[in-house]
């Protein structure tokens, strides 16, 4: 029982995972007006205030306009928020307050399938946000085509990572209030210090290392900025490897930690 490798056990899955995804999709579609508005408005507001407001004092950053520089960060942040918050607060409410997971595991579905369905739905939220944001950003003239189109499939991958990380916290949190801790101690610093609004190189060396070693958003921004600018960052190979490993790890941890919490 104390073998740490059991937290990396592979989940047993059937296509029924899709039914959990479908359930969340049905709720989402029911309230689509509220759901579609934030990813549509957010890039506009940020680009106007930061990109073109603050940006008017910044003639150029890393060879591009400030609006071009932060546009990929806005997409990355939206992916992070969609995946992370869907699988923390929203999943926690379904698990603990609505007893939705209990209701589902009384059917042929297993807890593995419920958790994976939730994570896939979190990734889907990230994908939907990206799908809405890209045309808006394109109209502002801050995207390079066709490379930027690759951001769409990448959003599913990055969304999967943040959803899985969120689910790990959901598995560990004693209550819904303590979910504020990862939000303030992990998500907010990441939002500010992952090469989002200024280059990482401005930070002290050891902080740079920390950001590269520990902050998934750093790598997501690196990949998306490489695509929206059409200029591959020198960090790109490192980021792709880091993200691959982190996604697998977070996904397996999420499923097994949730099993530990729910299978009693």
């Amino acid at each position: 029982m104390n073998n740490p490798l059991r937290f990396l056990a592979l989940p047993r899955l059937t296509p029924r995972v899709f039914h959990v995804w479908q359930r969340n999709r049905d709720v989402f579609v029911k309230t689509y007006r509220v759901n579609f508005l934030p990813p549509f408005l957010e890039p506009i507001l940020y680009l106007l205030s930061l990109g073109f407001g603050v940006g008017s004092f910044i003639p150029e950053i890393a060879g591009v306009s400030y609006a071009q520089y932060i546009a990929p960060a806005l997409v990355s942040i939206s992916i992070m928020n969609a995946g992370f918050f869907e699988c923390t607060y929203a999943s926690y409410v379904r698990m603990y307050y609505q007893k939705t997971f209990d209701a589902i595991i009384a059917t042929p579905l297993t807890i593995d399938e419920v958790i994976v369905g939730e994570i896939l739905w979190g990734a889907t939220r990230a994908f939907i946000n990206t799908l809405i944001m890209l045309p808006v950003l394109f109209l502002f003239g801050v995207l390079d085509l066709p490379w930027s189109l690759l951001v769409i499939p990448f959003a599913i991958w990055a969304g999967l990572l943040f959803a899985a990380i969120g689910m790990c916290f959901t598995a560990l949190t004693p209550g819904i209030d303590t979910l504020n801790l990862p939000t303030f101690l992990f998500i907010t610093p990441m939002f500010l210090f992952s090469g989002t609004f200024f280059p990482l190189t401005l930070l002290p060396k050891f902080v740079q290392y920390l950001a590269v070693a520990l902050l998934p958003l750093t790598h997501v921004v690196t990949v998306i900025r490489s695509l929206t600018l059409g200029i591959p960052s020198p960090l790109l190979p490192v980021s792709l490897v880091w993200l691959s490993a982190a996604t697998v790890l977070a996904f397996l941890l999420a499923v097994n930690l949730m099993k530990r919490r729910l299978v009693v």
Partner: protein
């Protein structure tokens, strides 16, 4: 299978549930302690017991959502470990806590649930119509869950549990918190399901419910099974046909001991268990000089309280 075990209750069919030495521990605490029972096809089988007796834990093991610690547990002839999905596909479950999906209407709750069983929409739709009429909720088809009364929610949960046409229906405290009308409607529906040949397992601490519905039952306490049998037999065996209630005085006690009648002192009252209430009453009134005495038929509640004691359970 052992030849002796197979004879069972004369149905000749394999049991729906068979537990032997079934045990569940949570760390140091033993919630279910080596229980052995079997549930035959077509019967209504009850689990009675005070809070914390291990009833719900036993249900959760049968449902394959809580792994057993020890012993053997077969459902539909399959060992639960390793056959979870196959077993769950054939079970309908009414949980103690309302876990309807608050994000959906009545109809969508059933439709979303039918998908978990891989039931195609074309089959689910007529089924949902039929089930809503069975639980008298047809008019509420498009009502959001929060607008339903407690009794309606309970009925909807029953309908939801039937969506996969289960061979085994498990109900955990099916009528807790309901008014008498709503309770009677649920009972009526359960009897109807029984008459269609469904096997039903229920937990309850409403003894009237158990007496009315169950063909057979067990009384559990502290993780173990105290007695098993048909409700009427259990009453006769453990309480007699009648209970005579009277004041608790030394004379009364002497009288009863002289008569050889079993009795208990409860809150300043004596309860005597007997098959001859007239004789006991006559003796008490005639020879023991007391004012207050009343006889009433014995119920399952008397058995329950005698066996599990009167201390409050948290």
């Amino acid at each position: 299978m052992l030849p002796g075990v197979q004879e069972g209750r004369g149905t000749g069919m394999a049991p729906v549930i068979e537990a032997r030495g079934l045990t569940k521990r949570f760390g140091e605490f033993t919630a279910v302690d080596h229980v052995t029972f079997r549930v035959e096809p077509g019967e209504v089988f009850g689990f009675l017991g005070p809070n914390g007796a291990g009833k719900t834990t036993t249900m959760r093991m049968i449902q394959c959502v809580s792994p057993k610690t020890e012993g053997s547990l077969q459902v539909f002839g399959m060992e639960v470990d390793g056959h979870e999905s196959e077993i769950k596909r054939r079970i309908g479950f009414v949980p103690q806590e309302n876990n309807l999906d608050p994000d959906f209407t009545v109809y969508m709750n059933l439709l979303v649930y039918s998908r978990y069983f891989d039931i195609p929409r074309e089959e689910a739709d007529p089924m949902i119509r039929e089930l809503l009429s069975f639980v008298e909720l047809s008019e509420k088809r498009d009502t959001p869950i929060e607008k339903l009364s407690g009794g309606m929610k309970r009925r909807l949960i029953l309908a939801r549990a039937l969506i996969n046409q289960p061979q085994l229906l498990i109900l955990d405290e099916p009528t807790v918190g309901l008014d008498p009308q709503a309770r009677h409607l649920i009972w009526e529906r359960l009897r109807e399901l029984r008459s269609r040949g469904n096997t039903i397992v229920l937990t309850t601490h409403y003894l009237e419910e158990a007496e009315r519905l169950c063909d057979r039952l067990v009384i559990m306490d502290r993780g173990g099974i105290l007695v098993e049998g048909q409700p009427r037999d259990l009453v006769l065996k453990h309480a007699g046909t009648h209970v005579v209630e009277t004041d608790d005085t030394p004379e009364v006690r002497q009288c009863l001991e002289r008569l050889g009648t079993r009795y208990e002192s409860i809150g300043g009252m004596i309860q005597a268990y007997t098959d001859a209430p007239r004789d006991v009453t006559r003796t008490l009134v005639g020879e023991c000089q007391l004012g207050h005495v009343a006889a009433r038929p014995a119920t399952l509640e008397d058995v329950f309280l005698r066996l599990t004691g009167r201390k409050l359970r948290e």
